[in-house]
Structures are given as structure tokens and as C-alpha cells.
């Protein structure tokens, strides 16, 4: 098992004729992912990297049975593309783009929930269930199949940490980038619940940062009865308060947003909390041994 994505997932890439769409069509297929369709309005009938292109997601679903979507369209069209996917019956929609108005992220999240579907994004590299399927643009060599479920608010940091896990022999069930914006689709609490229910996941690694409240949701989970072992990294130790560190969500506005407060809360909840990236693998080893 794994969460959200596995080797049965059938992928449609919305915006497949663009640069990122073409790259992912090639890259995902190379990873063994079942990329069954692409869409590009008005360009149905083409092929991109051997993948058939349709004019609408509904057609793609009807013709190919696609159930998961990776959306590469500019921010002003993103809400429309995500709504199209959901209405066509897609169960997992990933929107990796950044620069999305938060009001549109709110609508995407609400629309996915109303349909009982999963939305991942915005501002994320996507997710990968190593050895099974990839739905995003993370570097494949960083990952290896195993029992660690990884949740990350940051893209590059998840590559870095996954690479360290892989090098340490600690494979991953699924690595999901939940994104750096304050309002997201699948959030930390929801991703944790999915990993909790996944038999293949033995322990959870959470990669957080200053700002926002996701880390407190994680602490709440870790405190509960029967929680799986959790290790966490919080970055932003050296970031001054009151300034947005790249991510819209990474801003120390109140005391609870700070690095120290989050580390303290996580430790109080028995999370193996790393203060820097160097400490994460050792912290996790303390929980799960050598994997």
C-alpha cells in the first residue's frame, strides 16, 4: 500500500502540450507511472510522448479510465482546470503551480471536499509512491520503496531529506508535498491520517517550517493513542520574525509560529523533532532503527 497514489493509478496530464507537461509525460512514464492521457483544449487527437491528447478531461476519462490528474496551467486558469478534473470524476488532482490567489486555493479545496476527492497543492512538487508511481516533478533517484511516510511543506527540502533517507536505507511508502501556501488541499492533519491508516507505513516523517499551524496538528496526532512513530524537522531557526520566507505560509507572526515553539510542542508530544536537517535521520533512527 501507500497513500493516494499507487501502481494502479491512471494519470492524465492537463496541459500536456506545454513544456512541463511534455517533461512530465516523459519523466513519469520513465518511472513506470501509468500516464494514460493528456489534455489540451482544442488539440484532441495529438500524441505527446506516445500519450494520447484529448480536448477535455471528461473525454480523457471516458476513453482511458484516468483517475488522477497532474495540472500544468497558469495560475489564472488553474481553478477552472481543477474544477474540470473534479467534475470529470478524477479522484486525485495535483496542482503544483505557485502564485495562485489564496481565494482560488480555498475554492479548490472546498470543491474537492464536496466531491470526496483529494486535491494536493498548490505550490508543491506533487507526490511519489516510490517504486510504484510518481505524480510530480521530484528527482526520481532520491526515492526508494519502504515504510516511511513523508509529508513536506517544501519541495526541495523533501528531495534533500528523501535522498538522505534513501541513502540511509530508509525507504518511503509515499512522499507527499502538501505545499507551502497557507491554504492547501490535503493538509498535514489529513496526510497524517492517511499514513496512519496505511499498513505499509511504519513511521511518519514531517518536514515543516516556521509559520502556520500544521505542526500543531501533527503534535495532536502524535499525542493520541496508538499513533505511529513520528519524526519531524522544522526549518527557519535562523529566520527573523515578521518576514515572509519565500512561502506565503512561512512567516513568524506570533510566538506560536516560531521555530522554538514548534520544536517544543512537537517534543512535548513525543515527536522526534530535529532542529536542523542534519539531525533528522539520526532522530528517525532513534525511532525505527536502521530500517
Amino acid at each position: 500500500m501507500s497513500i493516494l497514489l499507487d501502481d494502479k493509478s491512471a494519470i492524465v496530464i492537463q496541459g500536456i502540450t506545454g513544456k512541463m507537461g511534455r517533461f512530465s509525460a516523459r519523466d513519469l512514464t520513465a518511472y513506470g507511472t501509468r500516464v494514460v492521457a493528456g489534455t489540451a483544449p482544442g488539440r484532441g487527437g495529438l500524441e505527446v510522448e506516445g500519450t494520447p491528447v484529448f480536448s477535455s478531461v471528461a473525454e480523457a476519462v471516458a476513453e482511458t479510465g484516468a483517475d488522477s490528474s497532474l495540472v500544468y496551467v497558469p495560475a489564472p486558469s488553474a481553478l477552472d482546470a481543477v474544477l474540470e478534473a473534479l467534475e470529470a470524476g478524477i479522484r486525485l488532482v495535483v496542482y503544483p503551480g505557485d502564485g495562485l490567489p489564496v481565494a482560488d486555493a480555498v475554492e479548490m479545496r472546498a470543491a474537492a471536499r464536496a466531491r470526496g476527492a483529494a486535491f494536493v497543492g498548490p505550490n508543491t512538487p506533487g507526490l511519489i509512491s516510490p517504486g510504484k508511481a510518481k505524480l510530480g516533478f521530484m528527482p526520481s533517484f532520491c526515492y526508494r520503496r519502504g515504510g516511511i511516510g513523508v509529508i513536506s511543506r517544501s519541495g526541495s527540502l523533501s528531495y534533500e531529506v528523501s535522498h538522505r533517507l534513501t541513502q540511509a536505507g530508509l525507504g518511503q511508502s509515499t512522499v507527499v508535498g502538501i505545499g507551502g501556501d497557507p491554504v492547501k488541499g490535503v493538509n498535514a492533519a489529513e496526510a497524517v491520517a492517511m499514513f496512519d491508516a496505511d499498513p505499509e507505513t511504519a513511521a511518519i516523517v514531517y518536514l515543516g517550517e516556521i509559520g502556520g499551524g500544521d505542526e500543531y496538528d501533527l503534535a495532536r496526532y502524535a499525542q493520541g493513542p496508538g499513533a505511529k512513530p513520528v519524526a519531524a524537522l522544522v526549518v527557519g531557526l535562523a529566520s527573523p520574525p515578521g518576514r515572509k520566507m519565500g512561502h506565503a505560509g512561512a512567516l513568524i507572526g506570533s510566538r506560536a509560529d516560531s521555530h522554538a515553539a514548534k520544536i517544543a510542542a512537537l517534543r512535548a508530544a513525543s515527536v522526534a523533532a530535529a532542529e536542523t536537517v542534519s539531525e533528522l535521520v539520526p532522530a528517525l533512527r532513534g525511532l525505527v532503527g536502521t530500517g
Binding site: 512541463m20 517533461f23 495560475a75 489564472p76 505557485d98 502564485g99 495562485l100 490567489p101 489564496v102 481565494a103 480555498v106 479545496r109 472546498a110 471536499r113 512538487p125 510530480g136 516533478f137 521530484m138 528527482p139 533517484f141 513536506s152 511543506r153 517544501s154 519541495g155 526541495s156 527540502l157 523533501s158 528531495y159 534533500e160 535522498h163 507551502g180 497557507p182 491554504v183 492547501k184 493538509n187 518536514l207 517550517e209 516556521i210 502556520g212 499551524g213 500544521d214 524537522l233 526549518v235 527557519g236 531557526l237 535562523a238 529566520s239 527573523p240 515578521g242 518576514r243 515572509k244 520566507m245 519565500g246 512561502h247 505560509g249 512561512a250 532542529e275 536542523t276 536537517v277 542534519s278
Partner: protein
């Protein structure tokens, strides 16, 4: 003309009080009828009934405690206050204008805001029966998790308020106002609309005595007012920062000796943290991931080369969609073309990392295998840690 100058940090999409009040008034919120002046002499042109409040227009927090709001009993006092405030700085920020308003006699001060909140998956309404400058220290405000704007229900907010606000008329006023603020936030792409204090007048009316409105900078494509705020802000930023903003580079200038060029917010912070732990100080948060092009990287180098505090440049990138062999070629070109002497340390990894590694090596440049190794090397070149 009316934007603040100075070196303080502030969000480009945080509206000044007078701009926020103008927006509030336009959606039906009652605000004092103020006038904006840029110099003491302009007070003579206003028809005012005294006393008035004279308020420095700055974005920095804590203006009230820092003396940025002055009560003036007559024209002479008002002029003196304007002159003094225009010559003052608040957290490093000099006001570009001063707002002069009738002094409103409040029975009570409340706090009301609508803001984006990840936990709510959208908007929350926050209300406190005690507003004013002491809001931060008091009990946490009442909280109504709305989520998507269409999910707002006046009767839910009413129930939440019932616990803490005994005056039914005030409750109803707050409910109506919250609806207006939420509509404003949703229709005009605001991430925060905060009224603190919200005055309750003797006759029960609610008046917004201050306004803190933050727009969503990513909505500039569909809101000209936001685009104008950003453009106006850029005009007043130091040149280096303006160029970075225009190029899509995320820059937060700090005051350290390690000039970090990085990719991705989390990864950038992770590198900054390692620098700090090694006893160093990063010179900046500089995330190039939104513009991983030769021009973007060249601009980053220019910025750090010209900063006299920077002793070493550390390039740390772990690319996913960014093809690292291309980044390596860009780095080779930049290094070959530069005349400055500041040492450069590389740690490139990610998609096509092996080719990147080879490219650097072929041109005599080291590529560190780990972030820790790269940070240690940079620290050594900068002259060691603490």
C-alpha cells in the same frame, strides 16, 4: 507619493491605514471622515472640528505605543503634531503622509478581523470584546472558522458571540460588519481585513478607528489596485531589491557574511539554519527557484558581489523541475565572466545531478556532496565561525 519611505521591512500589499479605510468605506463600513496631509501647512486647508487624531501613515506595527497617534485640541497643536510625525521614523519607517481625523469618543473598543487561515481551509472571523493596542496580551479572540466564503452563516457567528458579548445590538452590528468584511476579503482578494480598534459609540454605532488590510499579491493579474500597490512599492525599494522582485527572485536581506543563493523556501531556510548552527550568519534569504535562468542567477551574484558584508557566496540548489546540468553550465559561465574575488562554494544536486557534477568538475569547480560539507567550506572561506 503617499507610500512610506525608509528601510523597514513591510509587505508591499499591506495597505496604509487611510487606503484601508477608503476601501472599508467603499463597502459600507463606517469610518471617521479624515483627510490626508503631507505637511503641517496643509492643515490650514482642512475644515476640522477639534479635537482631532493625527496619525502617522506607516506599516510598522506598534505605531500607537511608539507615539504615532497624537490627539490635538486645536489647529496649532495639529500642525505641530503633523510636523513632528512627518519627521519621525517608526521602526525605521518614515511616514509619507499623516491622517487627520475627528477624535471619536468610544464607549468601548472591540477587535474584529477576517483573515486567511490554513487550519480553517480558508477564512476565519476573529472577534474580541476588548480591542485596542492591548489585544495581543489579552485572552485569545473568539474564532469562527468559515472556510470558503460561501460557507459563512451569520447565525453561527451570532452563537459564538453570544458567549462573550452581552449587548445584543452590538452582536448584531458585529455580525453585519463581519459579513461585509468577509465579502470584501473574498471579492477583492484580501488575505487580512482587520479593524482594531472597532469603536462602539454611545448610540451603539460601530466605527472602524483603524484599518489593516493585506491584499493577496498573487491576485494582481485580476485586481488593478493590487498591481498598483506592488508597482508603487517597488518604486520605493532600494534598487537591488527592486531588481530581484522584478526578476521573481524571493529576497529577504539580512546582515551576514555568507551570501546564500538557493532554490526553494524550505531548502533555503534549511541551509540558513546550518549556517547559523555553524556559527555563521546568512547574508540573505535568496530563493531563485521561480527564475532559474542565467539572468536570475547573474542578478543574484551581482547582488552579493556588491554587498560589502558578504565574504563568500554559497550556491545550494537541489533541483526537481530545474535541470541541474543547465544550472551548472550557467554557473560555469558566471564564474568565468566575473572579475570579483569573492570565493564561491557549490552544492548542486537533483535532476541530472551527475551531469551537473561533471560540468563543474570539468571547469575546475568543486561540487560538494552534502549541504553540511558546503556550509563548512563556506564558513572556512569566510574566516571561520564564532
Amino acid at each position: 507619493m503617499t507610500r512610506p519611505r525608509g528601510r523597514a521591512f513591510y509587505s508591499p500589499v499591506l495597505m496604509l491605514e487611510y487606503e484601508g479605510k477608503r476601501l472599508l468605506r467603499s463597502v459600507g463600513v463606517r469610518v471617521p471622515e479624515g483627510a490626508l496631509v503631507g505637511a503641517a501647512a496643509e492643515v490650514d486647508g482642512l475644515s476640522l472640528s477639534y479635537p482631532v487624531a493625527v496619525k502617522a501613515q506607516v506599516r510598522s506595527g506598534g505605531r500607537g505605543k511608539a507615539g504615532g497617534v497624537v490627539r490635538a485640541e486645536d489647529a496649532g497643536a495639529a500642525k505641530a503634531a503633523v510636523a513632528r510625525l512627518m519627521a519621525s521614523a517608526f521602526d525605521g519607517e518614515r511616514p509619507a503622509s499623516v491622517l487627520v481625523e475627528p477624535w471619536v469618543a468610544a464607549e468601548r473598543e472591540l477587535y474584529l478581523s477576517v483573515t486567511v487561515d490554513g487550519g480553517a481551509g480558508g477564512f476565519v472571523v476573529l472577534v474580541s470584546p476588548r480591542g485596542g493596542v492591548e489585544i495581543e496580551g489579552g485572552a485569545p479572540p473568539l474564532r469562527y472558522d468559515v472556510g470558503a466564503p460561501a460557507a459563512f452563516r451569520a447565525h453561527r457567528l451570532r452563537e459564538i458571540l453570544a458567549a462573550a458579548e452581552p449587548d445584543a445590538a452590538v452582536r448584531e452590528g458585529v455580525v453585519r460588519l463581519a459579513r461585509l468584511l468577509l465579502r470584501l476579503a473574498a471579492t477583492r482578494d484580501c488575505t487580512t481585513v482587520e479593524i482594531n480598534p472597532l469603536f462602539v459609540l454611545a448610540e451603539g454605532a460601530l466605527v472602524a478607528a483603524d484599518a489593516k488590510i493585506v491584499r493577496d499579491e498573487w491576485a494582481a493579474f485580476r485586481d488593478g489596485e493590487i498591481a498598483a500597490l506592488i508597482a508603487e512599492d517597488r518604486r520605493h525599494r532600494p534598487e537591488a531589491i527592486r531588481r530581484c522582485l522584478e526578476a521573481g527572485l524571493m529576497l529577504v536581506p539580512l546582515e551576514g557574511e555568507i551570501g546564500l543563493i538557493s532554490g526553494g523556501a524550505g531548502m533555503t531556510m534549511a541551509a540558513m539554519d546550518l549556517i547559523a548552527r555553524a556559527g555563521g550568519r546568512p547574508a540573505c534569504f535568496l530563493d531563485c527557484s521561480a527564475n532559474p535562468t542565467p539572468a536570475g542567477y547573474r542578478l543574484s551574484f551581482d547582488l552579493l558581489e556588491s554587498d560589502p558584508g558578504v565574504k563568500v557566496i554559497l550556491v545550494s540548489i537541489f533541483g526537481g523541475a530545474t535541470q541541474m546540468e543547465r544550472v551548472a553550465r550557467v554557473m560555469v559561465d558566471i564564474v568565468a565572466a566575473r572579475t570579483a574575488r569573492k570565493p564561491v562554494v557549490f552544492r548542486l544536486n537533483g535532476t541530472n545531478a551527475e551531469e551537473a557534477d561533471e560540468t563543474l568538475k570539468r571547469h575546475g569547480l568543486d561540487n560538494h556532496a552534502t549541504l553540511e560539507g558546503a556550509v563548512a567550506a563556506a564558513m572556512a572561506l569566510a574566516g571561520g565561525g564564532r
